[in-house]
Structure formats: C-alpha cells, structure tokens
C-alpha cells in the first residue's frame, strides 16, 4: 500500500474551497489528506455576493458562507482558519504558518503561533488583493478597500458618522462598492479615470447608458477624472480630483467625502510564490501551465493568484475550472485549463449588465448591430460577422447588454456554437414589450381586457386581411375596451408589414395618409383653420373619431380659438364637445380647476353647495381636486354658472391638455422643504392651463427630494434643490408607468420656465396622436439626449420660436366655460331633446350609496321607475 499523500492548500477562499469540495467528491481524499490553511477568521464565503451582506443586519456571515459548519464532512480534509502561510520551503517541502494561539489546537505540530507543515502537493489559492494606487493621503482614517467581510464591517462603522462617500474606480467592483455606500445611506460618488464606466467590459454607448441608470439611483458619476490626493487631517474629508489628461497643477475640484473606497483593480497575491522562487507572469500572478502546475511540479496555483499562460482571470468561474483541473491532474486525468470565457452578466445596482465574446468587435470583418432606448435605459449590441459557410448568413461573435440582459441566456451559447443567425438578427435584441412586439411570444396576451394574444392579432392580419387597428379591433376586439393596448396592436401590425417589406403606413386613419406631426406642419404652413379645407386638400372622405379630434387639437394648439366655435365643434370628442367627461350612464362629471391643489375654505364651501343643490356625487380625485359626478348634459351650464361666479374655471379634465400640476406643501409649512413648491405648481398650472396637446399632460412640483408630490410620475416634474429646481420629464402613471428623467438640474425659476415652454411646445409639435411624453421621447431619435439638445442646448435654434409659441398660448388663454356661458349659440347645444328641451333623459336614474347618488345601469332600470 502506498503511503497517503499530503496536500496543503493555501487560502480558503472561493476557489480553495472548491478545490477541497472537488477533492472529496471525486475521491481524491481516498489517497490524499488535505490540509487547508486560511488567513481569514471565517471559512470561505460567497465573495461575489459580498454586497448582500448589508442586507442582513445580523446573520450576514452565515448567509454568505459556503461552508456553514466550518468543517468538511470528510475527516480527511482539515480546515484551519486564522492562519497565514508565511513561507514555502521547496527543498524541505514544508510551509510555515503563523496562527494566533487560539487557532492552534492539537492540529499543529509545533506549539505556539508558528507551525511547519509538510506537503507532497502544495496548492496555492491565495486569491487577489485590491490595488490601492499611491495616492497622497491614502492611509488616512476613512480609507477602505472592498474585498472581505471585515472591510464591510469597517465601512459600515465609518458610515455611521459620514454623510458622503466616494469610490475610486468605476469598474465592476467599484460599482458594487458604490451600491454598498448607497445602501448605507451615503451620498455617493464614483470617480473613474477612463472616459466611461466598466471600460473593460463596455463600449462608450453602453457606458453612457449605465451612467444614466446609476445616476438615477442618486450616485454621482465622474468619468475621465484623476485622483490627486485625499484631503483631511487625520480623517478623510474629501477627494481632490482633476480632469484626466491635464497637467499637474491644472485646476482641481474637491468631492466631499468622509469615506473613500479604493476599487482601482486587483493584484494577484503571488508574493509567497515569488519568494519561493516560482516563476510569475510579467503582469503578476503565479505562472502556470495548462494543468495549473507552477514551475515546481509539486506546486499548483489556482484562482485569482494564478496566471495560466500569463493571464490572470478576475472572475470566479475560471478559478473553479482551475480547481477542477488540478484535482483531475492529481487523479491522473487529462483535464486542462486553456483559457476562459470572460463573459459577464451581473446586476449592478439593480441594472442588468452583460458583456460577452468579442464585445469590442476586434475580429476582422465584424459588424455591430445596436439597439438603444434612451428612455428606459436599454442598450444592446450584437457583434456579428459573415459566417464561413459563404451563404451570406451571419454568426454571432459577442455583444453587450445594458438595462435588459434577458437575451444573454440565448446569445452567449450562440457565440460558442458558431451557428448561423436567423435572417433578422435584430429581433434578438429588440425589446419584447410594446417597442417590437414581434419579439414577444405568440401566446403573450396583448389585450388583457378581451384576452387577445399576439397570435390572434397576427392571425387577423395574415389570415383575415386586417390592415389597420380598426380592422383588427373589429376582428379580434383587441383595443375595444380600455384602449391601453392600442399602441401595441398598432406596433404589431406595423411590424408585420415592415417584416414582409410592405411600406408601413404612418397615416392617422383611413382619411389621412399623413402622420399627426406631418399634419401639424401642413396646418402651420398653410394656415388652415377648418377641417373641411384640410381633408379636401390632404385627405379623403369625411373623417372619423380619430382624425377629427386630432385636427381639432392641432388647430387648438396653433390658434387659441374656442374649441366650440362652429368650425371645430363637430370635430371634438364628446368630452371636449360638452366641456365635461361623459360617464357610463351618459351623465357628465364636472372638475373645476384647483391649481396646485390649493383651495380656500370659501371655494370649498361653494363646491359643496353646488354639489348639494344639484345633487351631485363628490369625490376627491387622484389629481388633488374635486370631481362632481352625475350632472345631466343640460345641467352643465347652470352648474358652471355657479362655479364661474365663485371664481372657478374649467379644469380641462375632459381635454387632451394640461390636467393638474400636483404639489406638495413645500417650504411654506414643511420642515424639510427647500423651495415654495405650491407657489411654483400654481404658477405652472396657470401658465399651461388649456394647452391642447397630443395626449393629456400632468405636472408635479415637490419641495425637496422626499418627493411627496410624485413629480417624477408626471410628464414634467420639478423637484426643489438647495440651489433651485431639478426638471424631470417623461413620467406617467397609467397602463405603462414611466419615471420622469432628469433633463436639467439646479435651475432658476426663470430658466426652468423657459425650458418647460420649449419642452412642451416641442412635444405638442412633434408627438404622435395619443402619445404621452414618455413614449414620444422614447421614439424620438436620440431619445432624452435629443430633447436635451433641443431644449437646453438649443441645438436646432428653435428655442426662441418655441417660447414665443408658448407665449402666444399663455396670452390667448381664456376660460372655456366662461366663454361658453357668455355665448347663447354655444349654450344652445346643451339640451336633452331638441323637440322636448324640458324633458330630462328618462333613461338616467340614480340610487343612493354611502349617502350619495350612484348611477343605475340603464338596462337595469325597472319599468316605471321615476325619472
């Protein structure tokens, strides 16, 4: 019987642990004893998931541990912690270990803190250490690295007295660390020398997309910035930085910080090997061959401390592969490590990021296919090349995904398999949602009201000859209920026709081949004022419920004439036509404007009295105002007479126009408020009231970052800062909620208003019918950046024009209800029956519920019920 061999493993990190596990699982311990010596006070843990330690106030260590009991089941594997291997004697085949006395126990051959162990096989798994660049002041209190649980404990302790922190390094680990600082409640900065984040994995566009995501979380990203020094006496007070590429002595700025985390890369821990005279790679790491053997045949190196063929791998998967290879070698197996896929997919601060294969298109003949959606922050790139088959097909070389990495699972295997791509490879990265519904599975439900799937819709298009939304609606019922799926249905139809090479009709409806934007321009250029002229010159037929309201809206935003003028009254949707919202039983609701949600007791009393006198149901709306329901059409003028006399005006709840600008109480009352949010909300609501737009518009103003007004859920949201206002655009609730995104920060009120004027007019001019600001921005080429160029940088030189159009609107505003009440011709329409104006509609009836009226569904009205 041969003598049992002794394996000593240096380091109990992720890879050392994997080696021990594999040794047990694959039977190596039948012939070998394994002694694992680890420097850290605890057994191996999931370093990849390190940041989740913060989520566990207690028990974080156990949650991360890879060996919860601290011992292997196999008694032939022994783990000794808290022990540092300080020397390898290759002649004697021993290692020297320094342990604190309590860790010594009976295991160690020598008494005291120092022990010597013999090995037949030595496995180095010492990992890597964070690189701390030689920055002045790096030894100050408050400087940390981010690698071990101890580091996290120290950072957490320091964060208790700190308000802001900075991470040096915008790579993968730096962003992990930034996430930690955010979770600890610090205002967080990331400085990166390269011009973009994650320069190793991402290209410029992907890096920019990632920055947007991360800044949305409140992290300030500074790219292209060099750290000059860490300031402060004993403890850190800030980080002095200057622009990369500038000379020393160039102007610097200081980022306020009491916590600094270095994350400027890692260096393999190869000192032990180097001192023992083993070969190391020029860029660090213990040089090993394909079996992970060092220049000494009985010594192996695996994980981050190793450099197979001269390259070190900073990821765990290659380390695991190396651990398996060494166990295999010791079992006389054929396994080799010939390099690893450096593909990465992670969630950084909640953002999906993946980079795989030839992400930078370095292969000859490589082509790039990109999809970018600046609004939702999705960037996807495929690197493809013509395949060797010579049949004109393409194969996938690699790619980058930011914001949505769901395709990673399909894409990465395509790189290694080298299979030919489908004819339309762009489908692989187009979003599955409304943008490119072809990408969604056939069984996906498009219309939830009527349970219509994508397959049903495509069937209607391909088999039943439906060519537009109206036809599909008639055929499948999709879109016939709440209407929220109509844009998706429309996209599906368009995508289908585009995919078979048919020119996609962007026309508004069967009467117009022009899009809303084209019509807007046509109307502006020709100065049309009447639908008849427009349809005669540019359309066919007599219009419908789609084009007529759209043209009414275009005319209204260009002319400020009353919407019930004879030329336009017949174009209006029923809500606009009666300046009220129709309800399910044919009655209407009345919503007086309450700007910013602020109202005097006197006005509240008037609303109460009106509601009582006309027996209306009252409800506080989601828009900070009061809705009065159950008014018969012919009652509307009398109700509004009372309201207008008391100083109310139309709230435009019925129009595709500005609804409300929601406010929080702000600095006037709130102890946290930094600006007068109510004052601004009222001013903005009064400025933009009555503005007819492609879809409804909502705004919000919050007095501080606590955001009680939910401004970022609005088409335009303003949040007060110490210095002024931050302006966010493109938010909404509804069927497809979107968060508004920062357009410009720290604005004076005057600049804010001019940007808003431009933004809103640009939207009114160019958006499609029924397109909220979020979808408009999304479909605008260049997305939010484009909006910023036009609105903030005035790149098109349109600024003054847009502002003067808005000035015309503001100057031309008049209350629609007041004007209606003054015009007998307009009032003449508010009758129940032309031939019986004194008879109310007998089909309308109410019951009482919770002390207020409620409609009885018309079909349920009992015969002979009082009307």
């Amino acid at each position: 019987m041969t003598k049992r061999q002794r394996i000593v493993v240096v380091g109990h990190g992720m890879v050392g642990h994997r080696f021990a596990q594999a040794a047990v699982e694959r039977g190596l311990t039948e012939t070998h004893d394994v002694l694992v010596l680890g420097e850290e006070p605890r057994a191996a843990y999931d370093r990849v998931g390190l940041t989740s330690w913060f989520g566990h106030e207690t028990g974080g260590d156990e949650a991360l541990s890879l060996l919860p009991g601290g011992e292997y089941d196999d008694p032939r594997v022994r783990l000794v912690l808290d022990s540092v291997v300080t020397e390898v004697d290759r002649e004697a085949r021993t290692v020297t270990v320094v342990s604190p006395p309590e860790a010594v126990g009976d295991l160690l051959a020598h008494p005291g803190a120092v022990s010597i162990h013999e090995y037949d096989v030595l496995v180095l798994a010492t990992g890597a250490a964070p690189f701390v660049p030689p920055v002045e002041g790096r030894g100050k209190d408050g400087c940390f690295v981010y690698r071990t649980i101890e580091d996290l404990e120290a950072i957490k302790a320091a964060s208790l007295t700190a308000t802001s922190g900075v991470v040096i390094g915008g790579g993968l680990l730096g962003l992990e660390a930034a996430n930690a600082l955010v979770q600890l409640g610090l205002s967080t900065n990331v400085v990166e020398m390269a011009p973009r984040l994650m320069p190793v994995q991402l290209d410029a566009a992907a890096g920019t997309t990632l920055v947007r995501h991360i800044e949305r979380l409140g992290v300030k990203v500074h790219t292209g910035v060099l750290t000059e020094a860490i300031e402060g006496d004993d403890a850190v007070s800030g980080l002095r930085v200057r622009q990369a590429g500038t000379e020393e002595g160039a102007p610097t700025t200081t980022i306020d910080a009491q916590v600094v985390v270095f994350s400027a890369g890692i260096r393999p821990r190869d000192a032990l090997a180097r001192e023992a005279g083993l070969d190391t790679a020029p860029r660090g790491g213990v040089l090993v061959d394909e079996q992970c053997r060092t220049s000494d045949r009985s010594i192996f190196a695996i994980g981050e401390c190793a450099a197979p063929g001269g390259t070190m791998y900073g990821l765990v998967a290659p380390g695991y592969a190396m651990a398996e290879v060494v166990v295999d070698a010791l079992l006389d197996g054929p396994g080799t490590f010939t390099g690893a896929d450096m593909s990465t997919k992670l969630k950084l601060l909640g953002v999906d990021v993946a980079s795989f294969g030839d992400a930078f298109a370095t292969t000859d003949g490589a082509l790039e296919l990109t999809y970018a959606d600046a609004v939702s922050g999705v960037y996807k790139k495929l690197v493809i090349a013509e395949s060797d088959a010579g049949d004109g097909s393409f194969r996938l070389l690699g790619g980058i995904l930011v914001g949505d990495a769901s395709a990673y699972g399909i894409l990465r295997p395509m790189v290694s398999s080298g299979l030919a791509l489908p004819d339309n490879p762009e489908q692989l990265i187009l979003p599955a949602g409304t943008g490119a519904p072809l990408g969604m599975p056939d069984e996906a439900q498009v219309c939830s009201c009527n349970d219509v799937t994508k397959a049903d819709i495509l069937h209607a298009v391909t088999e039943e000859g439906c060519e537009d939304v109206a036809a599909v609606k008639a055929c499948t019922r999709a879109g016939s209920t709440c209407g929220s799926c109509v844009p998706t249905v429309k996209n599906l139809i368009e995508e289908h026709f585009a995919s078979i090479g048919k020119v996609v009709d962007k026309g508004l409806c069967e009467h117009f081949r022009l899009s809303r934007q084209e019509l807007f321009d046509v109307v502006a250029v020709h100065g049309y004022r009447r639908f008849d002229d427009i349809v005669e010159a540019h359309g066919t037929g007599r219009g419908c419920d789609i084009c007529k309201p759209a043209i009414a809206s275009i005319l209204a935003s260009q002319t400020s004439t009353h919407i019930l003028e004879p030329t336009t009254v017949a174009l209006q949707d029923t809500n606009d036509a009666y300046l009220a919202n129709i309800q399910r039983n044919g009655t209407y609701s009345v919503v007086p404007r309450i700007p910013g949600g602020e109202i005097t007791p006197e006005k509240l009393i008037v609303i109460g009295e009106v509601a009582r006198d006309f027996d209306l149901y009252t409800k506080i709306t989601g828009g900070q105002r009061i809705d009065l329901f159950g008014a018969r059409m012919e009652q509307l003028p009398a109700i509004w007479r009372r309201l207008v006399d008391a100083g109310f005006e139309s709230g435009h709840a019925y129009g595709k126009s500005l609804r409300t600008v929601k406010s929080c109480v702000g600095s006037t009352w709130c102890r946290y408020g930094v600006q007068d949010s109510v004052g601004l909300a009222i001013a903005l609501e009064l400025r933009y009231r009555g503005l007819r737009s492609p879809h409804k518009l909502k705004g919000g103003v919050s007095g501080c970052a606590r955001e009680c007004a939910e401004a970022r859920g609005k088409d335009f949201g303003v949040i007060a800062t110490e210095k002024g206002w931050n302006l966010y655009v493109g938010g909404n609730g509804g069927a497809n909620p979107a968060h508004a995104r920062l357009l410009a920060g720290d604005l004076s009120t005057e600049t804010l208003v001019s940007y808003l004027d431009r933004f809103l007019m640009y939207y009114v001019r160019t958006a499609d019918r029924l397109q909220r600001t979020s979808t408009w921005i999304e479909q605008l080429e260049g997305g939010l950046d484009r909006v910023r160029e036009v609105v903030v940088d005035d790149a098109l030189g349109l600024g003054a024009e847009l502002e003067s159009e808005m000035a015309r609107h503001v100057g031309g505003y008049a209350d629609e209800w007041r004007e209606t009440l003054e015009d007998p011709e307009k009032l003449a329409r508010f009758v129940s029956f032309v031939n019986a104006p004194d008879t109310p509609d007998p089909s309308i009836a109410f019951t009482t519920e919770r002390d207020q009226i409620q409609p009885i569904a018309p079909a349920l009205i009992p015969v002979g019920a009082p009307s």
């Binding site: 016939s480 419920d545 949707d573 019986a836 008879t839």
Partner: protein
C-alpha cells in the same frame, strides 16, 4: 307611417347630431356634410346610455357613420348596423325633410331598448 315633426333642419349642426323624443323613444338625428339627414336610435347598445347623438359624424369608406361617444364603435347612419360588430345594430328611422322641417317616420318604430 306616422311622421313626427322634430325641428328645423338648421337646428341639427352640420356633421353633428341632436337627440329627439319620438313616441317616448330617444332618437338621434344627424346631418351629414352633404346635407342629408339620418335618424337612428339614440341608445348606444354597448353601454345602454342614451348618447349616440353626441358621437362624431364622419365616413368609413363611402358609408356615413357616427362613432359612439362611449366606446367608439361606428354605426352606419343609413341602416343602424354596427360596423365594428356584425351582431349588433340599432333601429334606423325613416327621415324626410319638408320645407326645411325634419320629420321622423314612426312606422318602423320598435322599442330601442328592452324593458325588463
């Protein structure tokens, strides 16, 4: 056929509608761009509300239509047929215009709504 005189033709807005009571039933009377007058039941069969006269009048192909103000289905003004749902139609009434007065023919009067 009994004819009920409703109003002067000018009382109906061009490309618009009015509601009228004919024998106790609500009837929607429309005037199209070409000046023709049509009458169908005022009750929108999809909601049960008496509102069709408040819909937008236009055309689909060559057919003059009104789209319901409630859920937007289009109804053929000449026949009362719903163009978005074959199984649905509303009563259409005969109309004649005599000396600028609109008359609705009551012979084809059927209950537009079933009473329960």
């Amino acid at each position: 056929m009994t004819w009920t005189e409703i109003c002067s033709v000018d009382a109906i807005p061009l490309e618009g509608g009015v509601a009228a009571l004919v024998g106790g039933e609500a009837v929607a009377i429309f005037r199209t761009y070409s000046g023709e007058v049509f009458a169908i039941s005022n009750v929108d069969p999809f909601s049960g509300a008496s509102v069709l006269s408040r819909g937008i009048v236009g055309s689909r192909g060559d057919v003059p239509v009104v789209s319901s103000p409630m859920y937007k289905q289009a109804f053929d003004l000449t026949t009362g047929r719903c163009l978005d749902d074959d199984s649905v139609s509303v009563t259409a009434y005969e109309v004649s215009v005599v000396d600028g007065r609109v008359l609705v023919g009551a012979a084809s009067l059927e209950p537009a709504r079933e009473s329960t």
